[in-house]
Subunit: 387 residues, 2 copies
């Protein structure tokens, strides 16, 4: 505490303290002194930011014409365009989005909703684990697709009914145009609410219940097959699976895809235990499976966190990874990549998937008649040290 250099902070006098600065020209920033003098007709606009009106006056055209230039709505003669653009630059005009969206009924914003269940709040924290790199990757991917289209994401967390109402009303108020939804629980009512309210939305992963909503997903079954084939190829014979909660479609698909592929190789029966995608649940599930099948030599976990938990449990019970047991995860998260030995994992291209979500939403916004669509990505297997 003692070592913060508060002394390093210069006196606030360096700051344009409110009043004085306000007197100056309404430039957002820049050489305040270089205010365009001689703009004889400028009647002392001391207010805030320059408006369309100001630009129009300077350019000697009407407000409508400036608006047209700014939005490129109708053809405007080239020379007039130049004059207007020049004027925009000199007054430092930047459109007021509130005013614009008041009339267009559109904001250049979408909400990104991370939706979880509230019951989990019992353990003190929330049901959504933001420390999971998954969320960062999703948001990062969206950002990369949204930014070029000048759309900014508003982040919202939906755990309680109140939260969900907030989301819905943000959308219906025209606070945002559409929603990108990452729902972590099967019984999340939000997707249905969104559809019911007629709000454009795209979901990460197939909705748990059939719903006319666009989504992107990874071919979960194929990914699980990859894992199964890999374990078989490694010569593993006593193979078990740690699945996610089976009401989540992705978890179900991963498990059944895994089972299918193993069946193809003669494994009629695959012991499995369900976790809930957390590290701790991976530990527990692995423990249970070890009791059930002490000779286990291959494990597939439906995500990396549980795989790491499984490795932890295996170690505690004296098994060596990968010598005694091969472990394969799902997600290819940085957690697995940086653990030692590196975790073999089924990679889903989360960033690309998130970017695709954004693209779908943007397209839907541009053309509301668009049918709901889904895009499925192919997973790949990333082999590292645990197998």
């Amino acid at each position: 505490m003692g070592d913060d250099r508060s002394g390093a902070v210069p006196p606030a006098d360096d700051l344009p303290h409110g009043g004085a600065a306000t007197l100056e020209a309404p430039r957002p920033h820049g050489d305040v002194a270089a205010r365009p003098v001689g703009s004889g007709e400028t009647p002392e606009r001391t207010g805030g930011a320059p408006t369309l009106e100001d630009v129009a006056r300077v350019a000697g055209v009407s407000r409508a014409t400036v608006s047209r230039v700014v939005n490129g709505k109708r053809r405007v003669a080239q020379d007039i365009q130049d004059v207007v653009r020049q004027a925009i630059a000199t007054v430092g005009y930047v459109p007021n989005l509130a005013a614009r969206s008041l009339v267009t009924r559109r904001t250049g914003a979408v909400v990104v909703v991370v939706s979880g269940a509230e019951e989990a709040a019992a353990d003190g924290s929330s049901s959504v684990d933001f420390a999971d790199p998954f969320f960062g990757r999703v948001v990062g991917g969206m950002l990369r697709a949204l930014r070029p289209r000048d759309v900014d994401p508003i982040l919202m967390l939906a755990e309680t009914d109140a939260d969900r109402n907030r989301v819905i009303s943000a959308l219906s108020n025209g606070n945002a145009d559409g929603a990108l939804l990452v729902s972590t629980h099967a019984e999340d009512p939000l997707p249905a609410l969104l559809v019911e309210a007629g709000m454009p939305a795209v979901q990460f992963a197939r909705p748990a219940h059939p719903l006319p909503m666009s989504y992107v997903d990874v071919a979960n079954r194929d990914g699980a097959r990859l894992a199964a084939a890999h374990l078989v190829e490694r010569g593993r014979r006593r193979i078990v699976a740690i699945s996610g909660p089976l009401d989540v479609p992705a978890a179900r698909d991963r498990l059944s895809g895994f089972e299918d592929e193993l069946a193809r190789h003669g494994h009629a029966w695959v012991p499995s235990a369900a976790g809930n995608f957390t590290f701790a649940s991976g530990v527990v599930a692995m423990d249970r499976l070890l009791d059930q099948e002490p000779a286990v030599d291959g494990v597939f976990a439906s995500n990396d966190l549980m795989a790491l938990g499984a490795i932890e449990a295996l170690h505690a019970r004296g098994r060596h990874v990968p010598h005694d047991v091969s472990v394969v995860g799902f997600d290819d998260s940085s957690l697995g990549a940086h653990s030692r030995p590196g975790l073999t994992s089924v990679r889903q291209p989360i960033e690309e998937m998130a970017a695709e979500m954004a693209r779908i939403l943007l397209d839907t916004l541009a053309d509301p008649e668009r049918r709901v669509t889904s895009v499925i990505f192919e997973p790949t297997l990333v082999v590292r040290g645990t197998s």
Copy 2:
């Protein structure tokens, strides 16, 4: 709002056709067929969401009165309040934020800016690693403080000059009221731009250059001292440090705090190498340090990712952790907590720090005269398997 007893509402006869008006209330969505016929005065409001005007008509009061009830600005007689609230409920009114912020010049939103340098874009990806759990934790912490105050964060990434302009103009447009800044590079021009533009902003970690801007930080020197004392206590004698880029204040403080404490224990000289907070840079730095000091038995890395990289390098060179070498990281990220053996690390309470940032910004917004402040958090040492 939910529990106002409508029983308290006086008979509608007190009001100019309160009852009749209710019939023709425009509902947000619902039975179009059941449109009220003979709506004598209602001028065909088939449009979108109900407005203040609609509420006023139903409640039999003026627009201004409804506004007052909604915003609680001036005292309004209790019975009238009840009637208005009732009307709001029946028409399903929800204020249009664009219209509101057009006049108030306030949006209930802040931008969260993750700011990085653009040079790093050479490696194909961006300079900001969203997979780093750090960002998720920061955003999660902010969310938790923002949500109760009904403020939503708009997420922006600032890597290029264009991005930075977007941030500044979002702020000056009244797209958002203030900024929460997470800057990952010392030479980031954004903090200065924000100050220059007079925008309320709070930064995570002390600005690299003296700037009148509020910030929260962890007592980096104290944290590093904790690590040093711990290594000494473990009986380590050949201790080295992997620092962050030394133009970043936090990196500098961590290194010098570490050196100070070791000096106190007789280590006049601590070999060190600088990384850039990535896993790979941790590997490289450790390799260099091993060349320099082959007998190393203690390592302090300025963040967990580099610590993990160091462990990787140590293993590659035949050292066993923690048997031969103790390793201590900084951050207490989930990466370290889930690795095996668990990474001993200096914990900074990221979530709380982020929440405090949000609080400071909100307070500044409420009272613009507020001085810039800083809040420094105390770190703690979390001992796990690597030491």
